[in-house]
C-alpha cells in the first residue's frame, strides 16, 4: 500500500489537509504543536487504498525537540510526501521544502492558506515556483477544501531530489527562490494584526487576558445553565420521569431490577441525582448535568484555540510561571485538562523536557478538576453559593501553586525558557470550529456515558454484595478520623477511580454537612485520576514515574483533606 506523508512547518494546516483527504475527524487548532503524534488515515488513490499519515509539524529535518524527532523518524517510512507550505510565510517554509527534496522522497507542494496570502498582499508566481523546484505546486485553502482535488490529481507527478544544493547554502537558495516568485504589496495593518499586537503588549494584554477569562467563564456558565434550565431539566422532568415512574410501578419497589434500573425512590418520587438507578441517575448525570457544561466549555475553548489566543496567553503568564518553576505553555495542558484530563495529559507533550511534562501532568491530575466533575460540584454546592464553591476551587488553586513550588524545590533541573512561534490571529472558520466542538462533545457522549452507566452498575453490585459496607468498615479510621467523613463516603471514593462525576453525585444522598461536602469534593479531585486518565498517563510516563505520581497524589489528598478538616 502506498504511504503518503503530510509534512510541513508547525501550524500550516497539515491536519486540515489530512481531514480533507481522508474524511477522518481530527482536532485542529491555531497554535503550533496541536498534533504531537502522527495520525493515520486512508484514502483512495487511482482506485487503490493509500495510507495517509499526518506528521507533527517541524521546522527542520535536523530535529531539535521531540515532536520534530517524530517527524524526522517518519520520513523514511513514506513513499510520497505532501509538503504543506504556509503561503503567507514562504521563505521559512521553503527551507524545509528544500530539505525534503534533498531527502530523495518524491514531493508535491501544497501552497496552503492561499486566500490569506492574497488578503495579506502576497502574490506568488506558482508556475515559476513549480519550475524552480521541479515538483508540482498546488495552491490550496484546506479549511474550505479549495485545491484539494487538484492536489490529489497531481500526486503521481511527485518528483524527488530536484533541487540539489549544499546544506550551508540552503537559506540563500531559499532567498533566491523567494526573490524570483514572490511580490508583496505594502498595505495597512489589519484589525486582527493590531489586535494581535494589543494582546501581547503587557499594558494592554494583561487586562485583556483578565477580560477574556471573565467573559469565557460567564459564557460557559450562561450556556451551561441555559441548556440545563430550558432544555435538559424539562425533558427529564416532564417526559422521562413519568415513563420511568410507570416502569417503577410495573417492577414494584424493592426488587433487584427496580434497584438497578430505577434505584431508590425518595418520598415515593424519582430523584434523578440520588436514586442511583441506571435509567435515573445513570442517564441524568452525564446528559443533563455534565453534557451542557462540557459542550459550553468546548465551544469557548475551541473558539479561543482557533483564533490563536492560547500561545499569547502562554507568553503573558510565562514570567509568573517561571517563578513557580514552570513554563508559560504549561497553561495549555491546564486549560485542556479543565475540559477533560485525557487531552490535558496528552497536550503536556508541547513541553520540551520530561521533567516539565511530569510536573505539568501531576499538577493537572491533582489540582485540575475536569468539566464533568466541576459541573457536579456546582450542582451539589451551587445552592450554598460562594461559601460552598470558593473553598473547593480556591483550595485546589492554592494547592496548585504550593505543589508547583515544592516540585521546583525538590526535583532537580530548571524550566527551559519559552521559545514559540506566535501564530497570526485568524477568524475561526465556522464549519471547522463547529466540527471540532461536535467532535469533542461526541467523544464525551461515546466515551463517558458508558463509563457512567458502568459506574452506577458497579455501585449497585457492590452494595448488593456488601463490599461497600465492608470497605467502609475497614477504611473508617482514615475516612472518619482524618477526613471527617462518614464511612459510607468510601463508596464515592471507590467510584471516583472510574468516574469523578458519578462519585460527586454519590455524595448527594449521604446528608453531608457543608464542611464535609467541601472536603469530599477536594479529596475526590486530588486523590487519583479517573481510570481513563490514569491509563493515558501510564502510557506517557511509564510505570515507575506513575507510581511516584500516584504516591504524591494519595499523600497530598490525605494531607489537604485532613488540613481542611482541622481548619474549617
Amino acid at each position: 500500500m502506498k504511504r503518503i506523508l503530510l509534512m510541513g512547518n508547525p501550524n500550516v494546516g497539515k491536519s486540515v489537509v489530512f481531514s480533507r483527504l481522508t474524511g477522518a475527524d481530527v482536532i485542529v487548532s491555531n497554535y503550533p504543536g496541536t498534533t504531537v503524534e502522527f495520525t493515520k488515515g486512508a484514502m483512495v488513490l487511482d482506485g487503490q487504498r493509500a495510507e495517509v499519515i499526518d506528521v507533527p509539524g517541524t521546522y527542520t529535518l535536523d530535529p531539535t525537540i521531540r515532536a520534530e524527532q517524530v517527524a524526522a523518524d517518519m520520513l523514511p517510512e513514506g513513499d510520497v510526501v505532501i509538503d504543506v507550505v504556509d503561503a503567507t510565510n514562504l521563505e521559512r517554509n521553503l527551507n524545509l521544502t528544500l530539505q525534503l527534496l534533498q531527502s530523495g522522497k518524491p514531493v508535491v507542494v501544497a501552497l496552503n492558506m492561499w486566500d490569506e496570502a492574497g488578503h495579506k498582499g502576497i502574490n506568488i508566481d506558482v508556475e515559476r515556483l513549480e519550475g524552480l523546484l521541479g515538483v508540482p505546486v498546488v495552491p490550496t485553502v484546506a479549511i474550505s477544501g479549495r485545491g484539494i482535488s487538484n492536489l490529489v490529481s497531481r500526486l503521481d507527478e511527485a518528483q524527488a531530489n530536484t533541487y540539489p544544493h549544499e546544506d550551508d547554502d540552503r537559506w540563500s537558495q531559499v532567498g533566491e527562490i523567494v526573490e524570483q516568485v514572490q511580490r508583496v504589496t505594502q498595505r495597512h495593518h489589519t484589525f486582527l494584526e493590531r489586535l494581535a499586537d494589543f494582546s501581547l503588549q503587557p499594558e494592554t494584554g494583561i487586562p485583556l487576558a483578565v477580560v477574556v477569562g471573565l467573559v469565557a467563564f460567564a459564557l460557559i456558565r450562561f450556556i451551561g445553565e441555559g441548556l440545563i434550565g430550558y432544555l435538559f431539566d424539562p425533558l427529564f422532568e416532564k417526559l422521562w420521569a413519568p415513563l420511568v415512574m410507570r416502569l417503577s410501578e410495573l417492577l414494584g419497589p424493592g426488587g433487584f431490577w427496580h434497584e438497578l434500573l430505577v434505584g431508590k425512590l425518595v418520598a415515593g418520587e424519582i430523584e434523578f441525582v440520588e436514586s442511583l438507578g441506571l435509567l435515573t441517575t445513570g442517564l441524568y448525570v452525564p446528559l443533563a448535568m455534565v453534557l451542557p457544561y462540557v459542550f459550553a466549555f468546548y465551544l469557548v475553548l475551541s473558539l479561543l484555540e482557533d483564533i490563536g489566543y492560547l500561545p499569547r496567553l502562554g507568553v503573558l503568564v510565562d514570567t509568573i510561571m517561571h517563578h513557580l518553576g514552570l513554563h508559560g505553555l504549561t497553561i495549555i495542558p491546564m486549560l485542556l485538562g479543565l475540559g477533560c484530563n485525557i487531552p490535558g495529559a496528552l497536550s503536556t507533550r508541547i513541553l520540551e523536557t520530561r521533567r516539565q511534562r511530569f510536573i505539568a501532568a501531576t499538577l493537572m491530575a491533582i489540582c485540575v478538576p475536569c468539566m464533568a466533575q466541576i459541573a457536579m460540584v456546582v450542582g451539589l454546592l451551587g445552592e450554598f453559593g460562594a461559601i460552598g464553591l470558593v473553598p473547593v476551587f480556591g483550595t485546589l488553586a492554592l494547592l496548585w501553586v504550593v505543589l508547583a513550588l515544592i516540585f521546583k524545590a525538590v526535583l532537580p533541573g530548571e524550566a527551559p525558557e519559552i521559545f514559540i512561534e506566535i501564530p497570526p490571529y485568524r477568524i475561526p472558520a465556522l464549519r471547522a470550529t463547529g466540527q471540532k466542538v461536535w467532535l469533542r462533545t461526541r467523544q464525551f457522549i461515546t466515551d463517558a456515558v458508558p463509563y457512567v452507566l458502568l459506574g452506577v452498575l458497579v455501585v449497585n453490585i457492590m452494595y448488593v454484595l456488601g463490599i461497600i459496607q465492608f470497605l467502609g468498615h475497614v477504611l473508617a479510621p482514615v475516612i472518619t478520623n482524618i477526613l471527617g467523613l462518614p464511612p459510607e463516603a468510601v463508596a464515592a471514593l471507590l467510584i471516583g477511580f472510574l468516574r469523578k462525576d458519578v462519585a460527586v453525585g454519590m455524595l448527594a444522598p449521604l446528608g453531608l454537612s457543608l464542611k464535609q461536602l467541601i472536603i469530599a469534593c477536594v479529596v475526590l479531585t486530588a486523590y487519583f485520576p479517573c481510570a481513563a486518565t490514569f491509563a493515558v498517563l501510564l502510557r506517557e510516563f511509564g510505570i515507575k514515574d506513575m507510581a511516584k505520581a500516584a504516591a504524591i497524589m494519595v499523600t497530598v489528598a490525605l494531607c489537604i483533606g485532613g488540613l481542611l478538616n482541622l481548619l474549617l
Binding site: 510565510n89 499586537d197 525558557e417
Partner: protein
C-alpha cells in the same frame, strides 16, 4: 552599535549578527528563521525579564529573556 535583542527598544529594527548558546537552541532559532544577516523587529517585552517577542520575516516568535540576550543585533546609532 551591537546590542542584544533583550536590550532593543520596542519597535526597533536590528540586523542579527550572531547567535550564541547551546547547539540545539541555535539550530532551532535558525530553523525558525532567526539567523545572522536577517533583520528582526522587537515587538514586545514582558516586565520583570519576561519573554521578548520578535518579528522575523513573516514569523513572530516569542523567546525567553535569556535567549533574547544571546541574540546579538546591529542597530542604528
Amino acid at each position: 552599535m551591537i546590542i542584544s535583542a533583550a536590550e532593543m527598544r520596542e519597535g526597533q529594527t536590528g540586523l542579527v549578527i550572531n547567535l550564541s548558546g547551546g547547539h540545539g537552541m541555535v539550530r532551532r532559532m535558525q530553523a525558525m528563521g532567526v539567523r545572522p544577516g536577517v533583520p528582526v523587529v522587537k515587538l514586545t517585552s514582558q516586565p520583570f525579564r519576561g519573554p521578548v517577542s520578535l518579528q522575523v520575516g513573516a514569523t513572530q516568535v516569542a523567546v525567553g529573556f535569556g535567549i533574547a540576550r544571546r541574540i546579538m543585533v546591529e542597530v542604528a546609532g
